[in-house]
Symmetry: C2
Subunit: 254 residues, 2 copies
């Protein structure tokens, strides 16, 4: 393996990891099985506590520990480029601990940052200065994770605290949340997502970022009310292909 | 990890590996991310030559070598129960070489056999003595892989050589085959599958086995013309859950 293996830290939840891996396959130019890129997906959910629960102070164990242990195992298996299939895991209190842990053990893994990839993608495909509406978990919301887009000349638009409470339920609720839906998306989750997106548009959003891998399971269209919808996990999948074998990246079709 | 990790040898093709992994998630009783079973999916397609091409003599390298190397890496990562996400890889000329390689290196991995799991499943859920129509790749067809179902008191029904040629194309053809379709299933592949299934019914089949993980991507219903359709990869997913944590297996709904 000249360029090594692509490693995906999944299990946050399992569907999000599978979805990221599938998007790599879907955006790779390949005429046969053997043309596809080498990937290893670790889905060890028991090892990684809930990211939002940690960010909001409900649990004390930093998910960074489990993530680091998984990355260590991956590196031993030949992984050279890796990504975390969870937006909330990119909050500085988690992601920065992972990065400093990798540095400490002199890891050679190149770990991509989902939000940086989204920023780079939007500024290349859409206009700099755009107002980006962001949807995601309460962990992503509270840490204002997507404010990082400012580095790319973009401003962010957010929903209200009350709307965010609903949004989080659409992901996590044991009855109508997408995490417990096993493939069939509950209507209520869809309508919460649509209400939140409409609210972002009213607040001036010019495009919408699905800042949670599981939101892309609720709504997979590339447009909402005529505005572009950016799936952060698809952008990350494309960035992984580009980092590994740029010649195999399918052209972007809006 | 008391029971260790479930390992999936994917990449044959990548979609089949993802599909098997997703079926494990879908059939697991879980209220949160953390309740899901630990899984590692290796999708290293470059390491595993095409199974049917080997079986039919078009290539000389036995895919067993790459599969064994992957299982070795998995075992080092904590995998205790494993499966191959490809029916054709269960042909004796491949699978038996894998098993004897594992024995040679005193591996403790428990490698399930997809066809045995299908046999066990059908004889428990349907009637012993049933006539089972089998669809799959030409590799699976030529090696009469599913004749192994006789061990479970079942007889098999197969399509003609000409129909099999078409069937294989529905999986492998660079334009209308499911392997190069990246998620959108071509109509032609669907109609080939339906014609083949109708032909099995005319020959007396009482139920139909999708004996290729990718066929379940073409046709995911549980019935065809009123007869039960058994997805071999779903059966394998359920067997993996059962081998790891039987209490977490969702009940079977026909």
């Amino acid at each position: 393996m000249r360029q090594g293996i692509i490693g995906i830290v999944g299990g946050m939840g399992p569907e999000a990891g599978l979805s990221l891996s599938g998007k790599i396959t879907g955006s790779t130019i390949a005429a046969s099985d053997q043309d596809h890129l080498p990937q290893i997906l670790y889905s060890l959910p028991e090892m990684i506590p809930d990211r939002t629960e940690y960010i909001t102070g409900n649990i004390k164990t930093n998910p960074a520990g489990g993530i680091l242990q998984i990355l260590k195992g991956m590196e031993q298996s030949g992984v050279t480029i890796a990504a975390l299939a969870c937006n909330s895991a990119h909050a500085p209190e988690i992601f920065d601990v992972v990065v400093s842990g990798l540095r400490q053990r002199k890891s050679k893994i190149r770990l991509l940052h989902m939000v940086d990839e989204v920023g780079d993608f939007i500024s290349r495909h859409y206009s700099v200065g755009a107002r980006v509406g962001v949807l995601g978990t309460t962990g992503t919301y509270r840490t204002r994770l997507y404010d990082r887009l400012q580095k790319y000349g973009l401003t962010t638009v957010n929903i209200s605290g009350q709307e965010q409470h609903q949004m989080h339920q659409a992901i996590y609720h044991p009855h109508f949340g997408v995490k417990s839906s096993a493939g069939i998306i509950p209507e209520r989750a869809v309508s919460i997502m649509e209400n939140a997106a409409n609210s972002l548009i009213k607040s001036g959003a010019e495009l919408i970022v699905m800042g949670c891998t599981e939101l892309a399971l609720i709504y997979s269209d590339r447009q909402f009310q005529g505005l572009p919808v950016i799936d952060s996990s698809e952008v990350l999948a494309r960035a992984l292909i580009n980092a590994h074998s740029p010649g195999k990246l399918k052209p972007w079709i809006e």
